[in-house]
């Protein structure tokens, strides 16, 4: 059974997942050494994903697929017609740079879905990535969080522009839905409600 929660027309409910997630093959090198070292990564220009991994990624011949950002960029020619048919989405990890995606695909709304992989609950980069995709790059379609996604992130993810949540397999997605409404009148403006509370309500003088 799918553990996917989806917000549609303002209502959150369990949903079937009609996308196939395409994964990179395991790296030869120990990838964890690099994971999260974003400063070093940026300063040294080192990539955590090898050419070999990208070349060896198995892309299903048919159906709706979400491909890794590196594959989307490096093997874009192979995907061209399927992208035009709305069969291709992109996923990225939290240390990957959105600029890399934009350079390849200026109009993100060609993509029916963008998914962001969060390896650890405590990795809050996902919130900035969601916010930038919505506010800076004008992405309007489904924005999904997957990976170490637990109910206590859901409220923040929703406020950061995410509209679907693949809750970790060992937890109840149904129960997680409740947390989307943990707070009724948040203080600050964010993606889902750009105006701060002092512009939404008359709080007296």
């Amino acid at each position: 059974m799918s553990n996917l929660v989806k917000i549609e027309n303002g209502v959150a409910a369990l949903a079937n997942d009609d996308w196939t997630l395409v994964k990179l093959p395991e790296a030869q090198t120990e990838e964890r050494i690099q994971a999260g070292k974003v400063v070093l990564f940026k300063l040294t220009g080192e990539s955590t994903i090898t050419e070999e991994q990208i070349a060896n990624t198995v892309i299903p011949a048919t159906g709706k697929i979400i491909v890794p950002l590196s594959v989307f960029v490096e093997r874009n020619a192979e995907l061209e017609s399927r992208i035009a048919n709305g069969e291709v989405g992109v996923w990225l990890a939290t240390h990957e740079l959105l600029e890399y995606l934009i350079q390849q695909q200026a109009d993100l709304n060609v993509l029916p879905i963008i998914a962001v992989f969060v390896e650890r609950f405590a990795d809050g980069r996902i919130f900035s990535i969601g916010t930038l995709l919505r506010t800076r790059y004008g992405f309007k379609n489904e924005l999904r969080a997957f990976g170490d996604v637990l109910r206590d992130q859901l409220f923040f993810l929703k406020r950061s522009g995410f509209t679907s949540f693949m809750v970790r397999q060992d937890r109840s997605a149904q129960e997680a839905i409740a947390s989307l409404n943990d707070f009724s009148k948040p203080y600050q403006g964010a993606v889902d409600e750009p105006q701060p509370v002092f512009k939404r309500y008359n709080r007296g003088v």
């Binding site: 405590a122 750009p194 709080r203």
Partner: protein, 555 residues
Amino acid sequence: MYKYDEIDQQIVDERVAQYRDQVRRYLAGELSEDEFRPLRLQNGLYIQRHAPMLRIAVPYGMLSSKQLRKLGDIAQKYDRSYGHFSTRQNLQLNWPKLEDTPDILAELATVQMHAIQTSGNCIRNITTDQFVGIAPDEVIDPRAMAEIIRQWSTFHPEFALLPRKFKIAVSGTKQDRAIVQAHDIGLEFYTDNNNNVAVKVWVGGGLGRTPILGSVIREHLDWQHALTYCEAIIRVYNLHGRRDNMYKARIKILTKALGINEFRNQVEAEWTHLKDGPNTITEAELARVAKHFDPMPYENLSAHDASFDAAIASNPAFAAWVKRCVHVHKQPGYRAVTLSLKPHGQAPGDITSEQMWAVADLADEFSFGELRSSHEQNLILADVKLADLYKLWEKARAQGLATPNIGLLTDIICCPGGDFCSLANAKSIPIAQAIQMQFDDLDYLHDIGDIELNISGCMNACGHHHVGHIGILGVDKDGSEWYQVSIGGKQGNDASLGSVIGRAFSAEEMPGVIQKLIEVYIQQRTPEERFIDTVRRIGAPPFKAHVYAKNEVAA
């Protein structure tokens, strides 16, 4: 002070419900230890050596008598009838039961209090100067901005899980008393050449394992943009701060790695997108919040009071207290009073339930029902009439709250240390107590004069040891507790970080070491010099020579 409206109240009430359910899921085994940790931390709950510790937020140090009374009740009902004021102006309970914490939060919510974001990798309690609003040298009262920042940072979705904790301080005085340079972001409010309120923005300061004073990222920012500019800074940090090593995860490491100029370029580039956006503060919102901080309904008083002058002349003990614990006020005939939580031989910053109730009564009787906590871990009654000081002193003294040692050697800033905290390498409270007993002679203390001694039980530096004129750091050497001593640190506009004088000492040696440092000062000082001035003038070598002299003879 700020009073909640329905929206504020609803948020803390909903937080209680959310947290209660998180605790329920944890106890039911639906959340693992690792999964519960970030959740409980963002509610101020640590798991410590003996019991959990709960840190209750005191936003920018402001408390009402009603709130303090409730804190006294809570400490009595759920703890061992005492609490501890921390260097972030918050109150910590050392012995609550995990199962009781949702009820404690529910009780706090009834007096418009909470424990939101008092720990964890998020934006922490906003701190400021304890004399805010009443200090004669104040240019801008920053409390309204502090409250606006508090609301903005509460459950900020984008910054809910930062690489590391994030501390913001605000100040509005010429003489900085909020240590803005030792914060992740320091906002220094001032009046610019056009007579508008502006902000000088500091970034990348912090104590801890790698002490660094902040750099100015922007000299002039219009106040309306305070939130969006903070968003730009924190977004760059959230995306690019290190997450692989918690000791390298503070924003200060990122600003050093990139250099302040490159960091500034990135922040400014981000800000071009956010500037004038929805989170821009409006005149109306500032005015609404500022109304809560209107001046108290002061009486028109003479700048002098005959009964006060007479008491000073006839009672040396009262005069000594006034000299150390009573502070200037911008309103004629009024003074601010520090109630010392540093009686000699007790844990600095500790206060019993009974004392909390007594201070609440004093606040009602003498100071419009409000008080403040300071980062030096004392309590302040900010608006006391000159003519009331003697009566207040007698009542405070009866409660053990009138030790005339504010700003003196025994007014020690001290973290809970190894007696309570599971992070600590060494105990800190017994060191503070031993030093207080060594210097128990008040005349001697007054002769030594203004000095700041700060003690941390580990390099996380909760006791701010780097900016103490004398700093003491507990270290672990092969499983035993040792203490490293530094001199020359200072808070304020001319802030500096202390330097270590040499090899570490055992706990028993510590009072003697401090004694020797003081001896050098007494010998070398010019009539007007404070300890820190002498250290800056003559440097560390004479101090080192005297402290380590015995060892050299023995060798």
